[in-house]
């Protein structure tokens, strides 16, 4: 099969608040193939969670389409829709809130197995044991009768992943899935998700504010950087972190503190013009990054909204200046 498995086609999502209408996501397109990994990265309010919820089919776009195997999901009905629901699973951020505290692990995993796989009794137990093994909760029999409060944050997150796997999903959307577990065990959870992607051909979308996590998880995939509702850059992970093309990604990478005293204390900074992120209620005209951007050109960047265009090396960037100069912003700003 060659076409994309799941695709956001020019989706936007607006919310009405007492203070006015905000566009949380504006004209975002993403297309994911089978067993691909992609990380959506951005700061709070950039629209990454809204994008993830639209991808998972939990939130209807205000405009644009969600396509699964080429067909519009929001046109689907009945069995067809149920099949999509099974195929795409969400793993939440907070493993303390996403598991029912009054149910044992067995009681959490059994209902979806019964409903979707018609596995009951001994077959269900065998299926649960194999799922718990798959997510690294061993010996599995010890976990079946436990309640969530008897597990650590990392173990709970593994249970959440096991629950997502009960229905053999083809896409997993993990929203900040490791940000609430201890630093010392994040990597093992990311490895678990990564192995699912490679061994079982699951397409994985990791939504995170942590670029280092995105770099590690997405090392064989792509990263999409979002800013104020738009995707400003989409590229292979290594080229994005080593040679970012958008001035915003460049500033982010230059500013990020690193767990290495020499590197972090000698990083070249990108001087931004303003520190405050504009309000979603009152977005700047043209490129939303232009008021802070050191490359911004009057008459262009404050007037025309840039759309994603291609730079050499298979990367896309929504920046007038980088596209015109045919060079990534990191080069133009001299921080390579």
């Amino acid at each position: 099969m060659s076409g994309p498995l799941i695709e956001l086609d020019r989706v936007s999502r607006t919310y009405t608040t007492p203070a006015g209408t905000i566009k949380a996501v504006d004209d975002v397109s993403l297309s994911l193939g089978e067993s691909e990994t992609i990380c959506i990265v951005g700061e709070s309010g950039c629209g990454k969670t809204t994008t993830g919820r639209m991808l998972a089919g939990l939130l209807r776009p205000s405009s644009g389409r969600l396509l699964f195997e080429g067909a519009d999901v929001w046109e689907k009905k009945g069995k067809d829709l149920a099949r999509f629901r099974r195929a795409v699973q969400l793993v939440h951020q907070d493993p303390y809130a996403s598991l029912n505290p009054t149910r044992t692990i067995a009681q959490t995993l059994a209902p979806p197995l019964a409903k979707h796989k018609k596995a009951h009794g001994r077959a269900a137990r065998a299926a649960m044991i194999s799922l718990l093994e798959r997510v690294g909760l061993t010996p599995p029999a010890d976990f079946l009768l436990k309640y969530p409060h008897q597990l650590s944050g990392g173990q709970r997150q593994r249970v959440s992943i096991a629950r997502a796997l009960t229905v053999d999903p083809r896409v997993i959307v993990a929203d900040e899935a490791v940000s609430m577990v201890d630093v010392s065990i994040r990597i093992s959870l990311l490895d678990l998700l990564h192995n699912l992607a490679t061994e079982f051909h699951v397409t994985t979308v990791l939504i995170t504010h942590d670029l280092a996590v995105a770099r590690y998880f997405g090392r064989k995939g792509r990263i999409a950087v979002m800013y104020l509702g738009r995707v400003v850059e989409l590229a292979d992970t290594e080229s994005l972190v080593s040679d970012p093309a958008h001035p915003y990604s460049t500033a982010l990478i230059a500013a990020i503190p690193e767990a290495d005293p020499t590197i972090t204390r000698t990083k070249k900074r990108v001087p931004l013009k303003g520190a405050e992120v504009p309000s979603l209620l009152n977005l700047p005209p043209g490129c939303v990054f232009h008021p802070r951007c050191p490359l911004s050109e009057p008459g262009l960047c404050d007037v025309v909204v840039p759309i994603l265009g291609n730079l050499p090396g298979g990367r896309s960037v929504a920046c007038h200046v980088a596209l015109r100069e045919r060079q990534p912003a990191a080069e133009l700003l001299g921080v390579r």
Partner: protein, 342 residues
């Protein structure tokens, strides 16, 4: 001469199952003007230690032994023997604490100016005009516009602005020590960067000593002069920031360093620490890290090892296998652990 000397500090929490030994025999010095970072997983005892230093621990906590000696050259005393009134003065005038800039760190129904005024009054600043002048000066210092911020309510400020306000408030009485508990957690990257730069600038201008509590190694890499690694309530390694990042000698420090990926440079061999921290009510026999440690030998079960001098006089690790750890890392070059183990 150290501004704070902690000796054999032990803090328990009372629970129904028995005492939780959250901090065990902690000994360290904080020198004038230096920045000390305390790292460790949640449950390692670092927050208990931090709030214990200013005796803000919850009621279920009890200091079972030890000494916390403060000495700024003019006055010297044991913090643990202060009465309520003197403790209150110590808490803001000598040693201030900055918490995470959550809304819960503020009184939600009064303005920022009133928060400053309350704090000043509670700590003996009777003159309203003096508090006002000092507040404006401090807000300038943390790069906030006093005219805008003083009249605002906490919810009207962004996370980064709230963190700046908390830092300014901590400086109200010009303390010699500032304790920061996860000062940049939950802030966006560019805001984090601004707060780190601000702390560096203030430290240079005002010369206070800092104790940092963070699970975020990158903040320690940015700001620390020296570091302590805590595990199961004990200090298991003490070193300069370079030694701890590039030449750690305790397997737990090695594990922590290796668990954090970087954005720049090679990824190296990143890996999590297997298992989870021990039950602090029933600690395992011998070294508490034994069950998770890839370097363990039978001898490690004989006793919880004391801090041993390694490499240099400024570097200690509580591990009898530290030479094997050093050999596994190979070179002493200034390269991260994940790269050396790749």
């Amino acid at each position: 001469m150290p501004v704070l000397s902690v000796r054999d500090l032990s803090i328990d929490y009372r629970t129904r199952r028995g005492p939780v030994h959250a901090v065990r025999d902690v000994t360290f010095d904080l020198e004038q003007g230096e920045t000390l970072a305390v790292i460790g997983e949640s449950g390692s005892g670092k927050t208990t230690l931090a709030v214990g230093l200013i005796r803000l621990s919850p009621r279920s906590a009890r200091v079972t032994k030890g000494e916390i000696r403060y000495d700024d050259g003019k006055r010297a005393f044991d913090v643990l023997s202060l009465d309520t009134e003197r403790l209150r003065r110590f808490r803001w005038a000598d040693c201030a604490m900055v918490f995470q800039a959550a809304l819960s760190a503020f009184n939600p129904v009064i303005t920022i100016w009133e928060q400053f005024l309350d704090t000043g009054r509670a700590h003996g600043m009777g003159d309203k005009h003096k508090v006002h002048d000092r507040t404006r000066e401090l807000l300038d210092l943390v790069h906030l516009d006093p005219n805008r911020v003083l009249r605002a309510y906490p919810h009207e400020l962004s996370g980064g602005m709230r963190q700046r306000v908390l830092i300014a408030m901590a400086l109200l009485l010009d303390p010699r020590i500032i304790i920061l508990d996860e000062p940049t957690t939950a802030l966006d990257i560019l805001t984090q960067r601004a707060i780190i730069d601000l702390l560096r600038e203030l430290r240079g201008k005002l010369g206070f000593a800092t104790i940092f509590i963070s699970h975020d190694l990158s903040i320690a890499a940015e700001l620390a002069d020296r570091m302590l690694t805590m595990y199961a309530g004990r200090i298991v390694e003490r070193a300069t920031v370079e030694d701890l990042f590039y030449r750690p000698r305790h397997p737990y420090s090695v594990g922590l360093m290796r668990a954090v990926p970087r954005v720049s440079g090679a990824l190296g061999s990143v890996a999590s620490i297997p298992g989870s921290p021990p039950d602090l009510i029933r600690l395992p026999r011998g070294c508490s890290y034994y069950p998770r440690c890839p370097f363990h030998v039978d001898e490690c079960l004989q006793q919880d090892p004391p801090l041993l001098r390694v490499d240099t006089p400024d570097h200690e690790a509580a591990c009898i296998r530290w030479e094997t750890v050093a050999a596994a890392l190979g070179s002493d070059a200034e390269a991260p652990v994940a790269e050396k183990l790749a």
